[in-house]
């Protein structure tokens, strides 16, 4: 029953092309790239349905109609039929031509070419988080990508360690992030929203925890985000908890791996200059709130197996952690 209901709803949702409760559905394209894949898939899907029905009907008919019954004559020992053989060699070949032509056409239209004024974003996969750089805007951020709606975006994808795959399904197909190599995808998002995705190539212990978000903003909102990101990091007010946090940050191992503009130059972990403005932490795993931040700072590997940010030795005191959390949250 359960199975029935879900098949029906899934099929229905697909037919309606509605994203609804399925944030990573490939049936709810929100960009030209995703739409092209979707259209092609539907084409092929219906061909497949036709072939499926024809073949399974023939098969079912054969096993029902030609059941052995007492008294029926021995079957005729037919060995083959040349014309039939030729027919059923040609028929699939012809259908495949109808699949192949739009396929090749779509391959070339989705090859990642963009107009010169496209927004360029560089994606670097890390175990297990995403680094985003906007070379023309001078922005570096992590895990949450912002792009403007209706504008061409070219994403250049590579990796800092092992092979990952960048995939935000509603915006388009995945491309592998391969060390020593840059791959491109291009898309033009057609509606604003907060779209989720995740790494699609097995990349080690926390592959399942390597999620990402792409926020498609209206032009003004995107511009506001760009301005915020380009600004120097917020300076915590004197004698605040956040300022204590900054001190803790500066004397701890944090600075070895993280960048906060003007505070620390580490490049191994995510850039934290504006971490307070992000909605999630730990590559899209948890909401960016005090409780999760505190747990994350205290013991990241317990939340994300294999995380390279090990437990701090010696451990930070609760007070230090609270201060750090306040500081990071102040970095809007």
């Amino acid at each position: 029953m359960l199975r029935y209901r879900w098949w029906l709803t899934s099929v229905a949702l697909w037919l309606l092309g509605c994203g609804g409760p399925y944030p990573q559905s490939t049936f709810a394209p929100r960009s030209d790239f995703a739409r092209a894949s979707d259209v092609l898939f539907r084409d092929i899907f219906w061909w497949a349905v036709v072939v499926f029905i024809v073949l399974e009907t023939l098969l079912l008919f054969a096993i029902i109609r030609f059941r052995h019954r007492e008294g029926r004559a021995e079957p005729k020992p037919t060995h083959g039929h040349t014309i039939l053989e030729i027919a059923w060699t040609l028929a699939p070949a012809v259908i495949l031509v109808f699949v192949a032509v739009p396929t090749v056409r779509t391959i070339f239209t989705t090859a990642g070419d963009v107009p010169p004024d496209a927004l360029k974003v560089e994606v670097v996969g890390h175990q297990w988080w995403w680094e985003y750089k906007y070379p023309d805007l001078g922005i570096t951020t992590a895990n949450e990508m912002h792009v403007p709606v209706g504008k061409s975006v070219q994403v250049a994808i590579t990796s800092a360690d092992v092979i990952h795959s960048f995939w935000a399904p509603v915006l388009g197909g995945k491309r592998d992030a391969i060390p020593g190599r840059v791959n491109y995808i291009a898309f033009r998002a057609d509606s604003t929203g907060d779209y989720s995705g995740q790494c699609a190539e097995f990349c080690g212990a926390s592959h399942g925890n390597m999620r990402l978000r792409v926020l498609v903003d209206r032009d003004s909102a995107f511009q506001a985000w760009v301005d915020d990101e380009k600004a120097a990091p917020a300076l915590p007010p004197k004698a605040s908890l956040a300022e204590q946090g900054k001190t803790v940050y500066s004397r701890s191992a944090c600075i070895g791996c993280h960048t906060i503009q003007g505070v620390s130059p580490g490049i191994i972990g995510p850039n934290l200059t504006h971490v307070g403005s992000r909605t999630t932490i730990a590559a899209g795993l948890f909401p960016n709130d005090s409780a999760h931040l505190a747990r994350w700072i205290a013991d990241a590997p317990s939340l994300k197996p294999g995380a390279l940010m090990t437990r701090m030795q010696p451990p930070l005191t609760d007070a230090d952690i609270a201060a750090l959390v306040a500081y990071l949250q102040s970095l809007k």
Binding site: R3, L58, A100, A205, G208
Partner: protein, 596 residues
């Protein structure tokens, strides 16, 4: 006991292959059930991320190399000499060697589950954990420092030797030991598909061996075959792996296609429709299987031209595959179909393989594939092909040839229960995966959030997986029960057309008291061209020389895991022990008197 350790009888080796492979099949199945239990609900925490990664790696590796291939090998061993009218394979001791090497390789790989403490780690800690495809550079020492990947790459090299040795053996057996009158175009279809499979094995396995040797050198000797900092590319691994990997898919499916091509004619009392077409399309698939490897790599970004070419070749390979399906249906058409369990599985094979084939066409198209690859959609696809296809086909073979191999019929009633449970179970388990994937769940993730909206579908899939488990339990019970109470099988319980049915079940050690002379493609059926042949007499008219056993294949085979162990523990002197054992075995083997 000694007679089993030293046996060179293809039938005994076939049974050894069967029981060993079936044991590994159960282990791989249990791994799958743990995986499904973990995924039954979002944020599952039955096992840790690290354990989960080992489970899916070992599930894939076990099913491909330790269950499906050797289950096919078990039929190659038992059935091919009987189908071609031979007394044994061409090289009986090489055959024993293949088996022992396979056993060693399988045990070596699975030893990784329990030997953690030897490497200062816990149990369930050092099993391979980078996927059955083991993509570099995750497998480099830098990213996988433990012995996990070492177990994998050494185990696979051992298993490769086993497959290669068996490949040479069966090619020669099929080409050279055919009974008089058994022309190539009179070979039973199963034997034909086996022959193509062997050619694929001997050409594909060297390629993965080279890939594994590079990986071994990278991990043990600090070379840089897959290290991009040194100017290399990790993509070399993917090209080599899939150059092997796609022919490997046909290595897995062609034997099952061969089985189905035997079962359908027998139970519809009609010759295989378009025998030459089925054979030639098999050969064509074998060749074309070499030209499609990059369709596993569309997301790699090879460029639009390469993508177009590989999309085209991949779609092209659907043509000979489709032809086979039409020919199977035409074989049933107009027949007098008896719904035995074997026929159920054979028809189940066709029905499920159609689905797997069609979903395959949807990801032959690169832009569509970019949304599908590395998601559960592909998991659904491969399971429709390898479970719905290969395993259904292998079970058809088991129910078909079991009486020949054991002398007892399996229970048909339990067999039907087995079939329907498995059929419903697999569709419950794997059909929802199409949606799970298209709704955005990648494969190989140990956990997923409820927000993806695929929790219920995953639960259904898990229920289906456990139904499959139940089906296998029914089968185990069937084997156990009929081994004591089963009806004894006559020479020919099904009315088969091929030579294996002309001799007792199980056959005597010499197989044929008199080697038959074959006049047609269906030697035991009356056709317009010839009369059925006489079954050989029960008592051989003249004494038949049967080769005795030999210890040396076993001794030589033991050298390989010893060498692998030496590499694993990085102790040089043990390598020499292994080499010495291997050489000693080979020399004694070469110089012992052994008449074939």
């Amino acid at each position: 006991m000694k007679s089993w350790l030293t046996t060179t009888d293809h039938k005994r080796i076939g049974l050894l292959y069967f029981w060993t492979a079936f044991g590994f099949f159960l282990i791989g199945g249990i791994e799958a059930l743990v995986i499904r239990a973990q995924l039954a609900q979002p944020n599952g925490h039955l096992v840790s991320a690290e354990t989960y990664n080992q489970l899916f790696t070992m599930h894939g590796t076990t099913m491909v190399f330790l269950a499906l291939m050797p289950l096919s090998a078990s039929f190659f061993n038992y059935i091919i000499p009987l189908q071609i009218g031979a007394r044994d394979v061409a090289f009986p001791r090489l055959n024993a060697f293949s088996y022992w090497v396979f056993l060693c390789g399988g045990l070596f790989l699975n030893a990784s589950w329990v030997t953690g403490p030897l490497f200062h780690a816990g149990i369930l800690n050092v099993a391979p954990d980078a996927g059955w495809f083991g993509y570099a550079n995750l497998t480099e020492r830098q990213f996988s420092p433990g012995p996990n990947i070492d177990f994998w790459l050494l185990g696979l090299q051992i298993l490769g030797i086993s497959s290669l040795a068996a490949g040479f053996n069966f090619i020669v057996t099929i080409l050279n030991l055919r009974a008089p009158g058994m022309k190539m175009m009179r070979l039973p279809t199963f034997t034909w598909m086996a022959l193509i499979t062997q050619f694929l094995i001997i050409t594909a396995f060297p390629v993965i061996t080279v890939a594994l040797v590079f990986l071994m050198f990278d991990r043990f000797f600090g070379t840089h075959f897959y290290v991009h900092e040194a100017g290399a590319t990790p993509l070399l691994w993917q090209h080599l792996f899939w150059l092997f990997g796609h022919p490997e898919v046909y290595i897995l499916i062609l034997p099952a296609m061969g089985i189905v091509s035997e079962v359908l004619p027998t139970f519809s009392r009609k010759p295989l429709f378009g025998y030459p077409v089925v054979v030639y399309s098999g050969i064509l698939i074998g060749f074309m299987g070499w030209g499609v490897w990059s369709h596993h790599m569309f997301a790699v970004g090879l460029g639009p031209i390469a993508d177009s070419v590989f999309a085209a070749t991949t779609m092209l390979i659907a043509v000979p595959t489709g032809v086979k399906i039409f020919n199977w249906i035409a074989t049933l058409w107009g027949g007098a179909i008896r719904g035995t369990t074997a026929l159920h599985f054979a028809v189940g094979f066709i029905a499920m393989f159609i689905i797997g084939g069609l979903s395959g066409v949807t990801h032959a198209s690169p832009p569509a594939d970019l949304q599908q690859t590395d998601t559960y959609y592909v998991v659904a696809h491969i399971h429709y092909v390898l479970f719905g296809g290969t395993i259904m086909g292998l079970f058809a073979g088991i129910y078909y040839w079991w009486p020949k191999m054991t002398g007892r019929l399996l229970s048909e009633a339990l067999g039907k229960w087995h079939f329907w449970l498995q059929f419903v179970g697999m569709n419950l388990a794997f059909f929802p995966m199409h949606f799970i994937g298209l709704l955005g769940m990648p494969r190989r993730i140990y956990t997923y959030g409820p927000e993806l909206g695929v929790s219920d579908l995953n639960l259904v899939s898990t229920v289906g997986a456990f139904l499959i488990g139940l089906a296998i339990l029914v089968f185990l019970f069937n084997m156990w029960w009929t081994s004591r109470r089963g009806r004894p099988a006559s020479n020919d319980p099904w009315g088969g057309a091929t030579l294996e049915w002309s001799i007792p079940s199980p056959p005597p050690v010499y197989n044929f008291s008199v080697i038959p002379t074959v006049a047609g493609r269906l030697p035991r059926w009356r056709t317009e061209r010839h009369e059925p042949i006489q079954d050989p007499p029960a008592v051989p008219p003249a004494p038949i020389h049967v080769p005795g056993g030999s210890w040396w294949p076993l001794v030589a085979a033991l050298g390989l895991p010893v060498m692998a162990l030496a590499a694993l523990t990085q102790t040089m002197w043990v390598v020499f022990v292994g080499v010495a054992l291997l050489l000693f075995g080979i020399y004694r083997w070469a110089f012992e008197p052994f008449e074939v």
